[in-house]
């Protein structure tokens, strides 16, 4: 018997797939989500075992190429100075994300008008503001209202503790007279909606066993499933198929037994992140690509990591990485020698193994007699920050299909070509210099940095950008493909520019905004 068509088929159960599934559930349509990965079991996350740090370097590593679970697909990122980080499973990247949860600023949607670079978004901050609020309620945000770097908004939980590290860094920032504020975090500082509060395991980036961090497997998905959404795991989509009239007819996927299946659908929604989504479209015979822009304009945020060592003991292995941020250098100032700007996000310390491994790699921890003395001067004495630099879209930064490399189902793997722009290089240099000043002002006796951070390709954006002009964009201003009127994209691919902040809160707000557009246009959706 042929498989019955579903009303809506969502591909990918990560940050955006979960949000749109939940929002559309109230329509009572038959909604099916296909996800290539598994459900996670938080009680088995690394922080519940003695090998917690080793697992972060193995089956919970953020590089899919090193992690290499059978639910992962390989990515050829040899031609990029920034390597890809992701997670494939229910929750997607939010399983491993740090939960830094900044919003975009009003100027981030108007970079062409205000700074003469890239393109403006077809929507603005005011359009997204109610969806940011709705997403905040679903995810749960800790923070403090009144940040002078942002339009007013109200986090619902108290900020995460400053701790010794935050207080030390804040003193340095105050000496320089520079902005800082407790970070908005998708981490529950208080019990929230059935989730227990953070107990400072310091292991957010290998899954939160406590459930305090808002990954979508513990936020949106339980609510979406209760509302009737069907989620099928271990189903990897190979391509989207078409009717003769050019409309999407469904998808071909491999089920949990590796068998090829066809699932018809009236509406298809892509939520596979800016690499996975581009990969599926490129593998679907040029679908939705009359602009030629599918896969192009890939943006990361080039990161710098800067750390300092202090005489006094700091938080070390205690507490979430999230703490405070600074947007002193966020908005464009031409005198700095680059356009746009960056955010500093201040972290705490390191767990014992990471402190050893990293210190040895950067030449701070010797072999032999002096090892123990040196280690004790480093461990729990380090803190620092990352700088998240806005990346501007450039067509030569792109995702294509690798001619050789394939995943375990024989689907071509994505290939990344990316070069760091001169603007990004200057911004990174500026950030490293300012960060060193902060650390010295805070009392650091030794400072180290890496820029760009090689492993830092965790923010994936731009490969199916939104816009009003079908020749310059892949989806319209409410997420529908210009070419295929029953195909939508809701992940980070639709970003026009990247802003200088982590993207997930905006990705999810956009997914809710697209969902509302679908709901309010049901009668004319394909016009």
């Amino acid at each position: 018997m042929p498989t019955q068509p579903v009303d809506v088929l969502i591909i990918g159960a990560g940050a955006s797939g979960a949000a749109i599934a939940w929002s559309l559930a109230e329509t009572k349509m038959h909604i099916l989500c296909l996800e290539q990965g598994d459900w996670m079991r938080p009680s088995e996350y690394p922080s519940s075992g003695r090998d917690w740090e080793a697992r972060q370097l193995n089956d919970f590593h953020y590089s899919p190429n090193r992690r290499a679970r059978d639910t992962d697909y390989p990515i050829n990122d040899a031609n990029s100075p920034i390597k890809i980080a992701n997670f494939n499973g229910v929750g997607g990247g939010t399983v491993l994300y740090a939960g830094h949860f900044p919003r975009f600023h009003p100027s981030d949607f108007r970079v062409h008008t205000m700074d003469g670079v890239a393109d403006d978004w077809p929507i603005d901050y005011a359009t997204l503001a109610p969806y940011y609020d709705e997403n905040d309620r679903m995810m749960g945000v800790s923070g403090l209202s009144g940040d002078p770097a942002y339009p007013p908004h109200e986090p619902m939980m108290a900020p995460l503790p400053l701790g010794k590290s935050g207080a030390t860094l804040a003193r340095g920032l105050n000496k320089l007279g520079w902005h800082w504020w407790p970070s908005d975090s998708a981490i529950a500082s208080e019990d929230y909606e059935g989730r227990a509060r953070c107990i400072n395991l310091a292991h957010c980036t290998s899954g939160c066993a406590q459930g305090a961090k808002a990954s979508t497997d513990v936020t949106y998905w339980p609510a979406a499933i209760r509302a009737g959404v069907e989620l099928r795991t271990r189903c990897r989509v190979r391509e989207i198929t078409r009717h003769d009239d050019g409309m999407a007819s469904g998808v071909i996927y491999y089920d949990a037994d590796g068998k090829e299946q066809f699932q018809p659908a009236h509406v298809v929604i892509l939520a596979c992140n800016a690499i996975g989504t581009a990969r599926i479209l490129l593998n679907s015979n040029g679908l939705a690509n009359s602009s030629g822009l599918v896969g192009k304009n890939l943006m990361f945020h080039p990161y710098a990591r800067i750390a300092g060592w202090f005489d006094e003991e700091l938080d070390g292995y205690r507490g979430p990485g999230n703490c405070i941020w600074s947007q002193e250098f966020y908005e464009t100032d031409a005198s700095r020698g680059f356009v746009r700007g960056y955010t500093f996000e201040f972290s705490r310390g390191q767990n014992p193994v990471m402190a050893a491994v990293h210190s040895m790699q950067i030449g701070r921890l010797p072999w032999g007699e002096d090892h123990h003395r040196a280690y004790r001067r480093l461990f729990c004495h380090r803190t620092g920050m990352v700088a998240i630099c806005e990346d501007l879209p450039e067509e030569h930064n792109r995702v294509t299909l690798d001619p050789q490399l394939k995943d375990c189902h024989g689907i071509p793997a994505p290939k990344i070509d990316y070069t760091l722009s001169e603007n990004s290089r200057r911004m990174l240099d500026h950030a490293v210099a300012r960060a060193s000043e902060i650390l010295r002002a805070a009392g650091a006796h030794d400072v180290w940095y890496e820029a760009p951070l090689t492993d830092g390709g965790w923010h994936l954006m731009g490969t199916a950008r939104m816009g009003i002009d079908p020749q310059r964009s892949v989806v319209n201003e409410w997420g529908r493909s210009h070419d295929v009127k029953n195909l939508f994209i809701v992940d980070g691919s639709i970003f026009v520019t990247s802003a200088g902040v982590n993207p997930t809160r905006t990705i999810q707000a956009l997914a809710l905004y697209v969902a509302d557009n679908i709901k309010s246009r049901l009668a004319t959706l394909f016009d």
Partner: protein
């Protein structure tokens, strides 16, 4: 499965990297319990470990100066492999009960007990609170 020579080499490297210390009351990384842990913990670094062991045939029989010279050479020629092997040794060493205790840590995983983090001095935020808004309004 490692050969006898490879085992002896690995043990020598572990000892060279982290010797025992009476000052800090900690064993070396070649201690029996830690070494047993190392042997079963190559994980995704197994190819790196094997590269090092292949390159360092006969290492355990060299005199200390000879061993230092071979490690220096390895650092030049196979730095990624050496990094992988070092990481495996450090992963096992810094989760050993005796080592964790000597660092003032309880020998346990972080979950479910968690840790305490002090709130810190929030009055530090007072000067920033006084600052006027500085984000740009967009047209």
């Amino acid at each position: 499965m490692l050969s006898d020579d490879q085992r002896r080499t690995l043990r020598r490297i572990a000892e060279m990297m982290i010797p025992a210390s009476t000052d800090y009351g900690v064993p070396s990384a070649a201690d029996d319990a830690i070494f047993t842990d190392i042997l079963r913990s190559f994980g995704r670094d197994e190819p790196h470990v094997m590269t090092v062991l292949r390159e360092l045939g006969g290492f355990a029989d060299l005199d200390p100066a000879g061993r230092q010279a071979r490690v220096a050479q390895l650092r030049e020629q196979h730095s990624e492999a050496l990094k992988g092997l070092s990481s495996v040794i450090l992963q096992c060493y810094y989760r050993d009960d005796r080592v964790m205790r000597s660092l003032g840590m309880e020998p346990r995983p972080p979950f479910p007990k968690g840790h305490e983090v002090e709130q810190g001095d929030w009055s530090l935020l007072d000067p920033v609170r006084k600052r006027p808004k500085f984000y740009r309004e967009a047209p």
